[in-house]
Symmetry: C2
Subunit: 313 residues, 2 copies
């Protein structure tokens, strides 16, 4: 018996065949076509699953259930996607829709929670009971794992660690509140602060590497400028790491997981990020007793597929 894991994204739908042990055996991907009505998107999920099975000679009877990770809020119990703006879903009973095509149990959860579960089962948190996976991207996604299970929250809304408030009254966040972790430690925040610094310091290497076009600045460029010894880049990144460490330290004080796993594009900067980060996080942990490990995510986009596949394993 196998599980199917579905990572329903704004651009692509990635599906995978997951073994009972959490190994991703095969995968397949199709376009989401989010501009179409939700029935069409769901049809795309169904077709992707069917192709996954047929092209690998797996019988539909060998599938125990289908797990779906989605970019939004959901009621896992009822199988309803409450609000997922990236795919234009609002109060869609995806379980009921999927049941038109499959007899199998359909389980759903937030995609960041699925990614955290994936890292816990097959990735950087594999050897640990408790973990928090933090994905530094356009926003900050997150999932809390205790006892190898997702902490879903009473109504499926837990794990929104990007919206823990680390500076009351501070920077405006995309959510409308002020001072969220995401407003300081997402890739978007890093780019925002880099642009401000580049305007103030037009001689910075950041701008040179961006072909003097401020709109081309991205985290990779800022870290490259740091590697080139640019002091403006150093100041921006030091400041970024300071806030990242505040948020991670705060999470450790609340939950003290065995490990914090950092994913997303920024996490590729291991030397410039993870190593200095450990010392900075320690400063924010009660009694400076940092026992939680900090690691880079291992599975990339596969984490979400594996986690969705293992939702009820």
């Amino acid at each position: 018996m196998y599980y199917i894991g579905v990572d329903l994204g704004g651009t692509n739908i990635a599906v995978g065949l997951v073994s009972k042990e959490g190994n991703l055996l095969y995968k397949h991907s199709v376009k989401t076509e989010r501009e179409k009505p939700h029935e069409a998107v769901i049809k795309n999920i169904v077709e992707a699953c069917k192709t996954l099975l047929s092209s690998n000679n797996i019988k539909v009877e060998d599938i125990e259930y289908i797990g779906i990770g989605l970019p939004g809020t959901c009621n896992s119990e009822k199988g309803i996607i409450e609000y997922a703006p990236n795919i234009n879903f609002k109060n869609v009973n995806i379980r009921k829709e999927m049941k038109k095509y499959f007899d199998h149990p359909i389980y759903i959860d937030n995609d960041a929670n699925c990614a955290a579960l994936g890292e816990s089962i097959a990735g950087s948190a594999k050897d640990y009971d408790s973990s928090i996976t933090v994905t530094l991207g356009t926003g900050i996604g997150g999932g809390v794992i205790v006892g190898k299970k997702i902490v879903t929250g009473a109504f499926g809304g837990a794990g929104e660690i990007g919206h823990q408030i680390i500076k009351a009254g501070g920077e405006l966040c995309g959510c409308g509140n002020r001072g969220c972790f995401e407003a300081y430690a997402s890739a978007t925040a890093l780019i925002r602060e880099s642009k401000i610094a580049a305007i103030k310091n037009p001689n910075t290497k950041i701008l040179e590497l961006a072909n003097n076009d401020i709109n081309l600045i991205d985290p990779k460029i800022v870290f490259a400028a740091l590697d080139d010894g640019d002091i403006v880049a150093k100041e921006v990144i030091d400041n970024y790491l300071y806030f990242l460490a505040v948020g991670l330290g705060s999470l450790i004080n609340i939950l003290q997981p065995d490990v914090i796993v950092i994913g997303g594009g920024v996490s590729k900067q291991e030397d410039n990020l993870i190593n200095p980060l450990k010392e900075l996080v320690r400063e924010n942990v009660l009694g400076k007793a940092l026992k939680t490990e900090i690691k880079v995510a291992k599975l990339g986009n596969d984490a979400g597929i594996i986690g969705a596949g293992m939702l009820k394993a």
Copy 2:
């Protein structure tokens, strides 16, 4: 069969006989005598347990285990109190010491975690699967309950919610860090801000109710001044509630428990605290979708005894 729950405090040791259902049947209390060596304090625990049993005609064979809540950090697995400054314990193997007097399994955990478990089993969170108990006192104590169990953290250090950072670089906290929840929303923080306000506004009712002695200001006086229509008190309390709501909203975004239970002296101000707080917390919850309930703690000091007694129930 029964459990014994021990609340080991800086002043008193309270012990109780707890039924399998989590009912506190009998209790007894003795002085801690923390000025004496730790062996003497442990002897006091033992004597209190023995008196509890003998005065209620309970046989020692009818006790399944003894659970102890302590004011500090501990290694629950090994039964070691690592650091508890209030009782002058440092790296004391309390399990080994207690075993000199009792044959029973000895379990230990932090007292705030025990109080959270007590409220979850027999108090305001009784009907809920997940809860966070927040005690507003000299500091802010806390415990996180998921699935009716304490989230202890990988090394017994979870639940330090008073040290989540809500304003990076802000007020200095007793822990040495800046911007902790405790530095803004503890009773100590309320008193500090009230004193500052009273110095600036010597005509405030706060000062009158404190017999014009700034050192007599306490939360009760500040809330009484508010009830009398004092605008200085209103400003201080509005500000206090703002930060309290930031911290609670932040916790909800991370963990979305069914209920947040608020204990400690300040929580007695139900009309002035809990009711306005709900609306303020909502402002800090992602999407303003507040589903978590907010309630006042029910068990007072008994929560810690019951929780200690139920540690392995």
